[in-house]
Each structure stands twice: as structure tokens, then as C-alpha cells.
Amino acid sequence: MHLAAYIGRTLIRGVGLLVAVVLVTFVLVQASPIDPMEAYVTAENPVSQEQRDAIAAYWGLNDPPLERLEKWVSALAHGDMGTSMYYRQPVTEVIRVHFMNSLMLMAVAWILSGFFGFVLGVVAAAYQHTRVDKFIKVYCLLIASAPTFWIGLLILMVFAVWLGWFPLALGTPIGKEAAAVTLGDRLYHLVLPALTLSVTGISQIALHTRQKLIDVLNSDYAVFAAARGETKWQIVYHHGLRNILLPAVTLQFGSISELFGGSVLAETVFSYTGLGYVAVVAGTKLDLPLLLGIALCSGFFVFVGNLTANLLYPLIDPQIREGMTHE
């Protein structure tokens, strides 16, 4: 079975990728100028030298770096990613809780930006050279040139500060017990960060979709379809959508990595307690086990996204399908 062989090969490559991600993260942590002790022990709660030594010994800060990595990796083999130095909870638990928050945020943004990006791209291409197209293009270029955190700040200013429609920050209402938080509360807090992420994700997808569809509309087969009586929208529907699906899928699943990067910024702006927020904490506090865990998880997530896209290709394109069975 060729598909099985393909998946097997890809999985091996995926494992290699994750090993590389962990190694690079580890090297970067070693090179970091941040002293985890100084980051943890703030000026407000000074501790004695004995206490410092105790903490350092507890964290294993004095152990040789490779030994620390070895410890973490051998623990990982048993499904344990160690204990977060900052949260003082198992890393798996920290990631699980925050990942759920992020997952919701990213899923909403992923679907919204994918859908609206695609629609805007198709409309712009179909109305190429008109005002509609120009408007969409200018909008996309503006958004694409603006940093995510800046757009986040603008949205925060307009909708939370001036209009007061949505909460300023956090993923749940302040001062409410965790058990009492409803789904409605969570969604309410999700709106602005999700909006920020979606808005920034749209432009990429819209611009690519637009260009692809313009290529299709200028193709020989579109000319021939017109010669056979198809109207512009019939050409878009019968030939355009199918032919731009492949690049759109590539882009959509490829955008997962950007979504991760974007969510770090968006979550920080909105103090939304998701994985991105935790990643920033882990980085600034130099929480080694937590940082390794997050790097591993996000690497895996992005890998699965790309793998999914690769598995979808043969379903869309018969030439790839044929290529796989004849390999």
C-alpha cells in the first residue's frame, strides 16, 4: 500500500522535525541571557541565599545542561514533560488547560480567515480591474503590512475601550470562580482576540486566492469555457473553484504555523490565557521544561496541519492521485 508507505515516511520525518525543534529550543535556552532565578525571585519578595540555593537545587539549575536535557527526554519517554518551574504544576497539565483556550481561539480564527479570505479572493478576482477588486486589494495589503499586535491594540481600543462592547482582557471574567465560568463568558472573551487573528489571516489567503483565480480565468480552459457559452460566474463555479482548491488547501493548512505565531501576539495583547500567553511566560521566565513542552506541542501541531494538507492533495488532484499509485 503506497499510502501507508507515504504516511510511514512522513511520520519518520515528523519525528526528526520534533527532535530538531527540541534541540534548537534547548540550545536557545542555554544561550539566553535570562537568569531564571532572577526572573522568578522578584524584588518584591526577596529571599535569602540559602533559599536561592535550595530553589536552584530543586530546579536542577546547577546540573550540567546535557544532564537536564537527558532527564527531560527520558521523562518524556514515559509521557511526562516534567514540572513547570513557574507554574509549579506538571507541564502536561499547564499545556492541556491553556491549549484548550488557544485551540478555541485558533480554530475560530482559522475557519473565519479561511472562509472570508477565500470569498474575498474569489470576488476580487472575478471583478478584476474594478473598484471592488481595488478595494479588497488595498485592504489586504494594508492589513498584511500591519503587525498583528498593532491591529490587536487598535481593535482593543475601539471595541473594548471606546465602545465598551467587549472585555479588555483575559479569557474569563475577573473575580469569577473557575467553576462558575460559563461557555457564554468564554465566547464573549474570545471575540476580540479571534477577530484580531482572523483579520490578519484573511489578507494572505485572499491575495493568494485572488491571484490563483486570475490565473485560472486567463487560462486556455477558461477561454474555451467562455467560447462554449459559460458566463464568468459559471466559469468560476465549474472550473475556478476546483482549480484553486489545491493552493487554497496548502495555504490554509500552512497558515497554522502563522496562526501559532499570531496567537502569541494576540494573546499577549489581550492577556488571553492561552498557549501563546504561556509561551511568553515560559520564555521570559526561562522555564525550561515548559518551553520545551510548548515547542514540542506546537511543532507537532504544525506538522499535523501540513500532513493533513498533503493527504488532501490526492483527493483533489487526479494527477497527484495517479502519481502516488504509480510510484
Binding site: D220, Y221, A226, G229
Partner: protein
């Protein structure tokens, strides 16, 4: 219907096509790509439109179908069976009464099975089966994708898209280049059969040899206009049987007639200055050829020619 029986299937009068272009910044200019064409095709007839690349042959096909780009301006008259081809009429006739046979398999949607593509907007599954039957295409071919077709199969599929429509006018745009002689000849035979069934065929080609074998009349294109339209017999005889110096030079350039190249090149549409477009390369060129504003088509010995010196 009387009118429809007597009128040619396609009757083109004084057709010109210009493109509006932007030069530098906002300065607009017009580029005349087809000038003053008169051409008619009757039912049962194959008219070959021959000429080198860039002479405007394909644009003529697109003009008849009404699928020129938006910046094109068309003037003159085109009639289909006596009915003026306005954009609305063209939109209605495209794919039903006027069919295009494209050049290559790249004109098929690469991700769509050929069966549904042959059916198009107006055809049915049964019609498609009949057409496949006629061209000896296996029923399973309908399930194939364009990239899985062999050259000969692709050719028959492309012709099928036109035949399924039952169109009276079939425009074949370069249907033979890149084909081996055998398949090319088979393809031309299909067009001959279609014409013999009463369809009008416009055969755009630069394969003049094949046109000799299968066409009824040949229209020679040069720099966006027709320089000579004559029965195929005149072209087979060649030499003095032809009326325009370019047709003669074209004939002499054929491998079997001496392979003599014509010096110079076809003028770029934007550089045309009135007079005869062939004047610069013509050995009979006189002042009249370059000073005349336009040179009209005239009937000489049963053919039409655009030349001051034709006798």
C-alpha cells in the same frame, strides 16, 4: 426560414478589431489588430484561414464568438445565418450554434473528467455517448482526466465538444500542429465529414498543405487582414493562378515548391500606416501601393484579392 437557407452561415463584412491600450501613464492608444475583413462561409464548406503567427487569425475566431478581451472594440458586421451577431446574440449562440474546436488539451479543465467536459452546459450523457461512439472513443474515456489522454484521443475529444452541440458553424483554431501526419489527416477528415453533413467550417491553420487537401476555399491572412480569398484549386496550381504577391510567395515557400523564404517580416499591427501592408516586402510595389489610404478587396478571376496590381 427561407432567409436562413440562402444566407451564408457566417457573413463577415468590413470587420475591424482594435485594442485600447495604455501607453505611458494615462495616454491611451489604439492598436488595430484586424482591419476590414470580408469573409463568408456557406453551409457545407470548409474555408481555411491561413497566415503566419500574429496575423490575427485567432482573434478573428474570438471576434466571431464574442469572447475578445474587454478592451477590444469591434466594428463592421458579422451575420450568422442572416442574423446580426450582437453581443447578446453571440452569448446565446456560443456553445450551441457556433462551436470552437480548440488547439490542444490545455483548453480542457485539468481537474475535470472529460465526459462532463464534453457535455458542457447544454449536452446530455446520451449525446456524449453517441459522439464518443461516432469517434470510436471507448465509453470509459468519459471517466478519464485530460492528462490521461493520448494525442489522438485528445484530438477526438476536442472535436467531440463541438459535434455534441450540433452547431452549424464550427471554428477550428489550429487543430493540427504538433500532431503526427496520420492523426492530423484523420482530424482533417473529421472536419471534411462535418462540412459534408452541411456544417460550415472555419479552419484556422498555418498548415497550408493540409488545407489544400481538405478545404474548399483558402483565405490568406496578412498583418490582420485578408489579402486573398480563392478556391483551393488555385492554390494547388499556384503561380499565376494566384492573385496576390504574398499568396504566391507563400506558395513558393512550401517545401514541395522550392522552399523559397520571403525576405523581411510581417509588420507589427501598431506600425501599420495605411496602404498595402505587404508593400515593404513586395517586388511589384509602386507609389500607389504605399499612398493609397486603403486598398479594397476586388474580385479577379473568381477570387478576391486586395492588391492594386492584380489582374
Amino acid at each position: 426560414m427561407a432567409n436562413h437557407d440562402t444566407a451564408p452561415v457566417l457573413d463577415i463584412q468590413n470587420l475591424s478589431v482594435k485594442f485600447r491600450m495604455y501607453d505611458k501613464g494615462l495616454r491611451q492608444s489604439e492598436l488595430q489588430v484586424i482591419s476590414d475583413i470580408n469573409l463568408n462561409i456557406k453551409a457545407g464548406e470548409i474555408v481555411a484561414v491561413a497566415g503566419s503567427s500574429g496575423s490575427g487569425k485567432s482573434l478573428l475566431a474570438h471576434a466571431v464568438l464574442g469572447i475578445l478581451p474587454k478592451n477590444a472594440m469591434v466594428s463592421g458586421s458579422m451575420k450568422y445565418c442572416g442574423t446580426e451577431l450582437t453581443p447578446a446574440v453571440q452569448a446565446d449562440l456560443r456553445g450551441r450554434d457556433i462551436a470552437l474546436v480548440p488547439q490542444s488539451v490545455s483548453y480542457l479543465d485539468p481537474l475535470k473528467k472529460v465526459g462532463p467536459q464534453v457535455q458542457g452546459l447544454y449536452g446530455t450523457k446520451e449525446q456524449q455517448s453517441q459522439v464518443f461512439n461516432r469517434f470510436e472513443l471507448a465509453e470509459e474515456t468519459a471517466e478519464k482526466y485530460p492528462f490521461q489522454l493520448s494525442g489522438g484521443m485528445a484530438r477526438r475529444i476536442l472535436v467531440s465538444t463541438a459535434v455534441i452541440s450540433n452547431a452549424k458553424l464550427i471554428i477550428a483554431d489550429e487543430p493540427t500542429p504538433g500532431l503526427n501526419p496520420e492523426i492530423a489527416e484523420t482530424t482533417m477528415k473529421i472536419f471534411r465529414d462535418l462540412a459534408d453533413e452541411g456544417k460550415a467550417v472555419m479552419l484556422i491553420t498555418h498548415d497550408i498543405d493540409l488545407a489544400f487537401l481538405f478545404a474548399d476555399r483558402i483565405a490568406v491572412f496578412y498583418a490582420g487582414t485578408t489579402v486573398e480569398i480563392a478556391p483551393v484549386a488555385d492554390f494547388i496550381r499556384g503561380g499565376d493562378a494566384l492573385r496576390h504577391p504574398y499568396s504566391r510567395a507563400l506558395w513558393n515557400a512550401l517545401p514541395q515548391n522550392g522552399f523559397k523564404p520571403i525576405a523581411g517580416g510581417q509588420p507589427y499591427a501598431g506600425n501599420l500606416q495605411g496602404g498595402c501592408p505587404y508593400a515593404a516586402r513586395c517586388s511589384h510595389c509602386s507609389t500607389e501601393c504605399t499612398t493609397a489610404k486603403t486598398i479594397k478587396m476586388q474580385t479577379v478571376r473568381g477570387g478576391e484579392v486586395r492588391c492594386c496590381h492584380a489582374t
